[in-house]
């Protein structure tokens, strides 16, 4: 049952190639899955992973889906480095969307340039607040952030459900649980005619740059990492553990909130119950797959976004439920964790 034994030296080869091995394993298992379901593996593979990328519209959709993943994962990576496990980004995204949507609904008809920036600020605030709450519970009451962040995610989804069924429901929406469609002043401008790609991508680009600089250059990032890798050393050096918790959770909440704004002021264009197809959870995989590195996360996001697109394409062309996306995501995380095990360990050899 013990398959592994520690290596004398960690494998540099595995350290850098683990994500690639994981992706390869996912593709192979995925093809096997297609074959078992009676679909031609090669053709399914083509539909799932190649076809979405054969048009400029496909590429724009890829960026639309990658953008929220990048935003959330950049924030999560900060916490993961410090071993603060925020797994409720979905809820923080929801809160961000809700705060931003509140501004849009309240100032509907106001044709002013400040509406969209106000929404961005409100969304960031909403997400940050929803991250600050578990930070308070952790620092003040010692409550595990894994469970509290996740539970608050459910609470956020019910608050959203209440708002779109009650106070903010579109009076002309035939009783559907949704708000009014936002006006132009509350939407990001479309960048490319004929696509849904919009100016929110600029926020994402700046975020990547910002997090790259932060990780590479700031003393705070260094302190966070020391706190995660060697808590005793961090204490000895006087780095505050509480500060780490606060910063990690508020920052990741804020970024998830921004992702929420990007959705409601972008492709969704209103508040409804389907603002996110699980971006908050998928971003956890993105963060690990991108090695918690600001630029690595960009590549990982593009891959996970492709799996989302592939799932949609498979639904249309192969008559497969879009839920296959979740199967692929789960497999990918498993394989990545499995591949990571080979950095410090090797297969046990007979003595």
């Amino acid at each position: 049952m013990h398959l592994l034994e520690p290596r004398a030296q960690p494998s540099q080869l595995m350290r850098w190639t683990a994500p690639l091995w994981a992706i390869l394993a996912m593709l192979l298992t995925g093809s096997l899955l297609f074959w078992m379901l009676g679909k031609p593996p090669l053709e399914s593979f083509q539909v799932f992973f190649i076809e979405p990328l054969t048009s400029s519209y496909g590429w724009s959709e890829l960026l639309i889906k990658a953008s929220p993943l990048i935003l959330i994962a950049e924030g999560l990576a900060i916490g993961f480095k410090a071993r603060i496990y925020n797994i409720g980004a979905e809820g923080q995204l929801t809160m961000g969307a809700l705060f931003a949507g509140g501004v849009a609904v309240h100032f509907d008809g106001v044709d002013a340039a400040w509406v969209l920036p106000a929404m961005v600020a409100a969304g960031a605030l909403g997400g940050a607040l929803w991250g600050a709450l578990p930070a308070l519970l952790k620092t003040r009451f010692n409550a595990e952030e894994t469970l509290t962040t996740l539970m608050l995610g459910y609470v956020a989804s019910f608050i959203l459900a209440y708002m779109v069924n009650g106070p903010w429901r579109d009076p002309e929406g035939m009783n559907f649980p949704q708000s009014i469609m936002f006006g132009d002043s509350a939407l990001f401008r479309v960048l490319m005619e004929g696509t849904r790609l919009n100016t929110s991508i600029i926020i994402t680009l700046f975020a990547v740059l910002g997090f790259w600089l932060f990780n590479a250059r700031s003393f705070l990032a260094y302190r966070l990492e020391v706190g995660g890798q060697a808590p005793a050393a961090a204490r000895y050096a006087g780095f505050s553990a509480k500060q780490t918790v606060w910063f990690s959770l508020v920052m990741s909440g804020l970024m998830a909130g921004l992702a929420g704004v990007g959705e409601v002021a972008g492709p969704v264009g209103q508040l409804n119950l389907n603002i996110s197809p699980g971006y908050g959870f998928a971003a956890i995989i993105v963060a690990y797959l991108g090695r918690l590195h600001a630029v690595g996360i960009v590549f990982a996001s593009l891959l996970i976004a492709l799996i989302y697109l592939g799932g949609e394409a498979a639904q249309v062309s192969l008559q497969m439920p879009a839920a296959i996306t979740g199967i692929f995501q789960g497999m990918l995380l498993f394989f990545l964790l499995g591949a990571d095990a080979f950095i410090d360990n090797r297969l046990r050899r007979p003595a």
Binding site: N142, T146, L147, F158, Y162, G166, G338, A341, N345
Partner: protein, 306 residues
């Protein structure tokens, strides 16, 4: 007044049942030093496996529960392979299992969306069910509710009174010591994880074949996560887990009776109550650091490579 409380009491027992199964299973897993955050995923896999079996054969929960248990245990073995044999990060492996389980169950469940099952008739226990007032509530439940009580007794007894229980706890407290004496640490942990998977599967199958006898995507709705939280609340003790499960059963049921009791809060906000309550309960129990430290299995979540 008492008459109006009786249906709430009866509903509480049923609502607590899936939490008891999943919670007891995770409690055993954690006592062996492993934390499996895949309960939600295993519940959903158990739910669809049980539902599919019941819908295909027409035997209802009698076939649904065993199938759910098998499916849950099988799913837990994926987790065990990565988290135990490959010694990967347990929390992340559990998360992967949940993401995988949500996807897999929705994928398989696509074919069963419009089915519905007959559900279960209550089983009246002779004599006891004739006790006025409480008799019909406590002793006229479906058989799975009784099974949950037997499971509790079995787990509590095994943990406190048997050699197997002692071994399990030893592995959870100090795998190095257990290994040095010659016990198969990984074997015992594999067994515990399989048990946890089977129990989560039963919990899911109870939801889909008895509690609300139909298949809905994501129908466990966070109950797997609440079960994980309950184990912390219970400070890893089966008796307190039962208490917690009934508390949550009551909170869940209360939302359906709130209007009757004259509470006018929007349904969506009432529905958020069990999740908010979980946070509150976690805070209350976690603020007592000593209590947690005292009861926490010492090797919980730590990887073990001999």
């Amino acid at each position: 007044m008492i008459e109006s409380l009786l249906p709430i009491l009866a509903g509480t027992l049923a609502a607590a049942t899936p939490l008891i199964f999943a919670g007891l299973g995770e409690l055993v897993v954690e006592r062996s030093g492993v934390i499996n955050l895949g309960v939600e995923g295993m519940m959903l896999i158990g739910a669809i496996a049980g539902f599919a079996g019941a819908a295909q054969t027409g035997y209802g929960a009698a076939i649904g529960l065993p199938l759910g248990a098998l499916a849950g245990a099988a799913a837990s073995m994926i987790f065990a392979f990565f988290a135990l044999s490959l010694a990967a990060n347990q929390a992340a492996c559990g998360l992967a299992l949940t993401i995988f389980g949500v996807g897999l169950s929705a994928f398989v469940g696509q074919h069963y969306v419009s089915y519905s099952l007959p559900g279960l008739q209550p089983l009246a226990i002779p004599l006891l069910s004739d006790i006025p007032l409480v008799g019909p509530v406590l002793f006229r439940q479906d058989w799975v509710v009784y099974l949950s009580l037997f499971s509790f007794a079995g787990v509590a007894w095994t943990l406190s009174k048997t050699r197997l229980g002692l071994l399990l706890k030893a592995v959870g407290e100090s795998p190095e010591a257990a290994h040095a004496i010659g016990y198969p640490v990984l074997g015992i942990r594999y067994g515990a994880v399989a048990f946890g998977g089977a129990m989560a599967g039963i919990a899911g199958a109870y939801l889909s074949t008895v509690y609300t006898p139909l298949w809905v995507q994501n129908m466990s709705a966070g109950r797997g996560w609440i079960a994980v939280a309950l184990v912390v609340f219970a400070t890893w003790k089966p008796g307190r887990l039962m208490l917690g499960a009934y508390l949550f059963g009551a909170v869940t049921i209360l939302q359906f009776h709130a209007q009757g009791l004259g509470i006018s809060v929007p349904v969506q906000l009432l529905a958020a109550l069990p999740y908010a309550a979980t946070v509150v309960v976690l805070v209350l129990i976690s603020r007592d650091r000593k209590l947690l430290q005292l009861n926490l299995p010492a090797s919980l979540g730590k990887t073990f490579l001999p």
